[in-house]
Symmetry: C2
Subunit: 189 residues, 2 copies
DNA sequence: AATACTTTTTGCCAAATGGCAAATGATTCC
DNA sequence: GGAATCATTTGCCATTTGGCAAAAAGTATT
């Protein structure tokens, strides 16, 4: 739990009693490599916090190619926002790409936290806005650049990820084939 | 002002007194084609609402190419969030790509609205989250697809924009050269 | 250690896109 | 109406990337 509170306190204040209340609702959970945290066609019913490991959000195009929208590293919230908030079916999969340790909250408990803890909603909004802004910032540059530049940007953005996950996931994030990415890697060294 | 309140009321409630207060802070503003609403290297000091026209957010790559991050159409808020919130220099330009009519609020007035109107902050957070989510949703698919597919997606996403702005802006949004986009267009018909 | 399995690299060729420059088309201004 | 300016299209060729299949390298299993 230490990591979770360190994370949250960057976005607002919590006293001991509030943290105890949050702790009482938190459930620690192991998510093995390749397992899904939430799935397309289902409604997301949990908020998670990645303590250890890497998660990705991906979907499948009409041609059946898998597309990785982004990765979520340690010390970040993971939640399929649209699905969770609006209770509509998701169009994306949230999947562990390494063995992961998460702290999760059910929707019911999360709403209780939002209603009970003064300032919690504001704090959560800040966290979410920041995460969304980050996604926009990370995605936008990728459209314009050639594949090599995109890969170099990926290395900057996710420095801790490269050597922990398969090449194919990175390729599907960058919008390149695995073969091309392999060649690009070779040319960079 | 009617459009602004119609827009806001989709995200929460406002009574007449609150709307009058908002109106008292609002300034109507004409932004001619090509003019900047905010600029890279400066701090964004206004929140705007697009009543009429189209605005884009763009920046310049290290090779001097201009990159359009996204367009903002009628009936949306326009604000360089990171710069406005954190008072740091922006890295992007917000530019009118048609003659525009905006309603703007100074930072000082906007903060007064946030502090005075109960529920205004929550409402604004909803608006912003939705806009950010939309940006992520719109950008992500563009990375993976080929240029023709990207153009077709652009048409879906921004159906009202195509014939109102120069080809070169669309090209810079899609990450294609103007020439390629011109050829793509030809092949589609 | 040998086998099966997965991931990454490579070769070959086709298709898509870029770069540059010229031609055409549209619009504005006198 | 004609000149000047700006936006779009097109031709030509170089470069990048994709598609497919096979080889090589790396991992796990027995």
């Amino acid at each position: 739990m230490k990591e979770l509170f360190e994370f949250m306190l960057r976005f607002g204040n919590l006293n001991q009693q509030q943290m105890d209340f949050i702790s009482s609702k938190a459930v620690k959970m192991q998510l093995p490599n390749n397992a899904y945290f939430s799935e397309a066609g289902k409604i997301a019913r949990q908020v998670g916090f990645v303590v250890e490991g890497i998660v990705r959000v991906c979907y499948y195009s009409n041609k059946g190619e898998e597309v990785t929208k982004y990765f979520i590293e340690e010390n970040n919230l993971v939640v399929d926002l649209e699905s969770f908030d609006l209770e509509i079916c998701s169009s994306a999969y949230v999947q562990a790409v390494t063995d992961c340790t998460l702290i999760v909250f059910s929707k019911k408990d999360w709403q209780e936290l939002l209603q009970t803890i003064v300032g919690f909603e504001t704090m959560v909004n800040k966290i979410i806005s920041r995460a969304l802004m980050q996604k926009v910032e990370r995605r936008s540059p990728l459209v314009t650049e050639d594949a090599t530049t995109r890969y170099l940007k990926f290395l900057e953005i996710y420095p801790t990820v490269v050597n922990r996950i398969p090449l194919s996931y990175i390729a599907s994030y960058l919008g390149v084939t695995q073969s091309s990415l392999s060649r690009i890697r070779k040319n960079i060294r």
